[in-house]
């Protein structure tokens, strides 16, 4: 038999023909297509029992109730809690993104010791025992050197058991230096102290649900001022009731856009407008009679310096418009209220403005009146044995920030004074610093100075959940559980009309090697033994919570929140100022042509918590583009400065020069540059890391002469084509 290549060809042909009559090619084609539909690098979400658990959100001061959807033990989604009084089922973008904080890449996954230079974020993992031993050694060293009073602590709030445990630890060690970051609520407290002579802890509450006329001096009422969800609901009630909403601002913020009543005044003249309105009210004899001291002097001051005409020129409004507004505002039937606190209210702001706006409310009779603003006693429901003893033990000692003494009697804590103090002195007045739920390196103005000061602090212990600008300066991190993994009582300030305490619950098992900060503080105290340990008689933090909250503990565990009633504080004699503090609200070099104003975006969070991926994703490209901050200017300003929409430009203030992108917008006043707050973070989630610029780097702080807080609301700047 002869075999040649034709035979093999025939073999091949036969094989090919045969194959076509087998399932092989057809099945392979089908399976290949299924392979493309499920390629291996695509994650497959695991199925399982679905459960819902309720807890509370702590990502902003708003105090919303949330429910988490769990599949087996994973939290897959956070939704609003329908039965919660603050948000009634709604939820903000940050709240929704909470899962990305819980499982996100910026979590501190175990105790860590700094291994690189400060600010570099290089860490070595250590055990909890090692970490606690180190803290103990640091404290003991200071105690032994009789410098225990240089131990300081910065927390995000002074409410609830956790901050109070810190406060107690410091007190029992002999240090009064418990500090919190200042917000507009601290300024309101200062105003109540200054203009009503009140002493001690007092809170501000707003009866927005019953308001009939809202006059907001640059407050981002729906951007996140106070409790954002509550404010959004209130604003919708106003809209439904056709309640007028006047927004005094330089640009169409979401609040201004929503209100439909923008009143554009020249930047920094908000206080003047308020005083002008006061003048119009007094001269129109529209003010409410009451027990007021200094009325004549105040009236005289207004007449001299803040007459309607003067104010009209200064603000750029028409005199008639001011008089008209004053008339509407002062009409008792209006049930009006004037509010201030710039943007989201996460900064203290200028006392001049707060006093002027408060004077306006006083004259219109809107303080402690339905639909108005209320002064209420701060809740004192957390009482521990020995509290008073400890308070008196430290009462004689001077605080590092001098709050409560001398020129600074209006403030409880003045964190903003620390960096300049350290830098001026050249050495740190703080020997050991605890930081919990606060990010001062990011949120304090004049970042360069803040960094310098933090570098000088000998030892910093951070209790952060996530890495941020401040942890980068810490020597040791004792990571806290995220709010979804821990118990914590969270009393809500945020200007709610009723006092409210939320409880966060461990709806997820700890994902990483972290510990509830409450437990950490208690174990630190216990490790110090002696009187310190005795001051912390609880087994653990949960025990502390249960014993402290008493009857409310079970309710909180079951329902998630407890709402209370608060009666207004008797205001007694009102003291109107005879002279207004003269602090320019706009800092910086007067020769620079433009005014830089931070804008608080609805989708960018500028406080301790940074935007998680979902929240960042919805940030418009008019605020962040690529890795650059986008600043907003008017078409006229753009032409005058030679700028083009979408193009790069160099933004310069006295502190820093940065490259930004320009967005030309119809919704902003000429001569103003608006810059979004919340960008320029370091060491956060990789999604946000090193994107844009931190507003605080550009803003020169300005100490308010009345309160001692940082009063800066804007700074002079130039914006030139890059």
């Amino acid at each position: 038999m002869k075999i040649d290549r034709r035979s093999f060809l025939a073999l091949g042909l036969g094989a090919a023909a045969g194959t076509a009559f087998t399932p092989l090619p057809w099945k392979l084609t089908d399976d290949a297509s299924i392979w493309t539909q499920n390629w291996r690098w695509l994650p497959l979400p695991e199925d399982g029992d679905v459960t819902y658990e309720t807890t509370a959100c702590t990502l902003c001061p708003g105090g919303c109730g949330i429910r988490v959807r769990k599949v087996k033990d994973r939290i897959v989604k956070i939704e609003g809690l329908p039965e919660h009084p603050v948000n009634q089922g709604g939820i903000c973008a940050l709240g929704i993104s909470g899962t990305q904080i819980l499982y996100g890449g910026s979590r501190v996954t175990s105790p860590m010791r700094r291994s690189g230079d400060r600010g570099k974020n290089e860490w070595t993992r250590i055990t909890w025992d090692e970490a606690l031993a180190e803290v103990k050694a640091q404290i003991n060293a200071l105690v032994d050197a009789d410098k225990a009073d240089t131990i300081a602590c910065i927390t995000g709030s002074d409410r609830g058991t956790v901050p109070l445990l810190f406060k107690r630890l410091l007190a029992v060690l002999g240090s009064p230096n418990f500090m919190t970051t200042a917000t507009m609520e601290d300024s309101y407290r200062a105003v109540f102290r200054k203009m009503h002579g009140l002493k001690g802890p007092v809170d501000v509450r707003f009866d927005f649900e019953n308001t009939g006329f809202v006059l907001s001096f640059g407050s981002g009422l729906i951007e996140g001022w106070g409790s954002p969800l509550r404010m959004i609901r209130a604003a919708n009630v106003w809209k439904a009731n056709k309640t007028p909403m006047i927004q005094v601002e330089q640009r169409l913020s979401n609040t201004a856009a929503f209100s439909g009543g923008l009143l554009a005044v020249n930047p920094g003249t908000e206080a003047d407008l308020a005083l002008g309105l006061c003048h119009a009210i007094i001269s129109g004899n529209l003010h409410q009679a009451g027990s007021v001291s200094g009325f004549a002097e105040f009236a005289n001051l207004l007449k001299q310096k803040y007459s309607v005409d003067t104010v009209a020129t200064k603000t750029g409004l028409k005199a008639t418009a001011i008089v008209d507004l004053a008339r509407k505002f002062a009409n008792p039937a209006s049930r009006s209220v004037a509010v201030c606190g710039r943007g989201k209210g996460t900064t203290a702001g200028s006392m001049r403005e707060f006093m002027a706006v408060h004077a306006l409310n006083i004259l219109a009779g809107r303080v402690n009146a339905p639909g108005g603003v209320f002064a209420v006693p701060a809740p004192d429901d957390i009482a521990w044995a020995g509290d008073t003893v400890m308070t008196s033990a430290i009462s004689g000692k001077t605080r590092i920030d001098e709050a409560g003494t001398g020129a600074y009697t209006l403030a409880d804590s003045l964190l903003n004074r620390i960096p300049s103090g350290i830098v001026e002195k050249g050495e740190s007045s703080i020997g050991l610093l605890f930081v919990s739920e606060a990010n001062p390196v990011y949120t304090l103005s004049g970042t360069k100075n803040v960094r310098k000061a933090f570098k000088k602090i000998p030892y910093i212990v951070s209790f952060a959940t996530c890495l941020d600008d401040t942890t980068a300066y810490a020597d040791l991190i004792l990571p806290n559980h995220s709010y979804l993994e821990r118990y914590q009582d969270v009393p809500v300030r945020a200007g709610l009309s009723k006092p409210l305490v939320n409880l966060t619950k461990p709806v997820s098992a700890p994902v990483y090697d972290t510990q509830n900060v409450g437990d950490t503080v208690i174990s630190i105290a216990k490790s110090l033994e002696g009187s310190v340990a005795e001051a912390f008689p609880w087994e653990n933090y949960e025990d502390c919570l249960a014993k402290t909250l008493g009857g409310r503990w079970e309710t909180l565990k079951e329902k998630g929140f407890v709402e209370g009633e608060a009666n207004p504080v008797a205001l007694g004699n009102v003291i109107l100022p005879s002279e207004m503090p003269d602090i320019p609200a706009i800092s910086g070099d007067g020769n620079l042509p433009l005014i830089l104003l931070p804008k608080d975006s609805m989708r960018l969070w500028g406080d301790a918590v940074a935007d998680p991926p979902f929240a960042l994703k919805i940030v418009p490209d008019t605020e962040l583009k690529g890795t650059e901050t986008v600043v907003e200017v008017s078409p006229k300003t753009a032409v005058a400065q030679g700028l083009e929409d979408g193009k790069e430009a160099v933004l310069t203030t006295t502190l820093k020069s940065v490259t930004v992108k320009v967005a030309v917008s119809d919704g902003i006043m000429d001569g103003v540059v608006a810059i979004p707050r919340g960008l320029g973070r370091s060491s956060a989630e990789k999604y946000l890391d090193d994107k844009g610029v931190n507003v605080c780097e550009l803003m020169e702080p300005q100490e308010d002469k009345v309160s001692g807080f940082d009063a800066v609301i804007g700074t002079r700047a130039s914006l030139k084509r890059a």
Binding site: M1, K2, I3, D4, R5, R6, S7, F8, A10, L11, G12, L13, G14, A15, A16, A17, G18, T19, F21, T22, P23, L24, K27, L28, D31, A32, I34, W35, Q37, N38, L44, P45, D47, D49, V50
Partner: protein
Amino acid sequence: MSTSNHEADSLAPGEAPDRKQGAPGGVIVLFFIVGFALSMAFGWLVFPKLLYSEKNQPFDFNHKIHMDLVDSGCESCHVFREDGTYAGVPTLAQCADCHQDVQGESKDEEVFVNEYVANEKEVPWLIYSRQPDCVFFSHAAHVKMAEMECKECHGDIGESESLKVYRENRITGYSQDIWGENIAGIRKNTWDGMKMTDCGKCHEERMGSKGPCFQCHK
């Protein structure tokens, strides 16, 4: 093959008229038939073996014994959750109700109790009827609303005394039961396949249409 070696193969067709002495036609036909037969054998017999890998369940399970013990059939263990979704294979907790300790029925039970119940470890069952991730299947709609029997799709598994070998498609990663045992895709029983066409056929017969895409896809 007698041509000079240096003539390029691509020019083979050029070897025309004078080289008629190649293999005779009969040989060529024979070769064709051999090739045909070989590939048929490969495609029908060898290929299916190659396509699927065989995996054993962690241990054997006797459905029949359990069926005799329970009151409400399959649903006694394969339960619907409160929200209407179907839980599928029972969890360890369900089984552990009875099998807290070794009852000594079988070796497999011993493995179960000692390795899984004692360690509180879920059994990594290989699920014969697992659909791709893109598929939504409502057991409630079929079992509760249409009152179909489990058997219609799953076959007689409830009567089985031991678990069959799990065969996984090496390319797609899915159980052979989705395509069906028959490599040609020929179905004799309603449970002989769980592909989209199988669903579509039944839906068309009983519902009048195959239904919208979203009915099963997610």
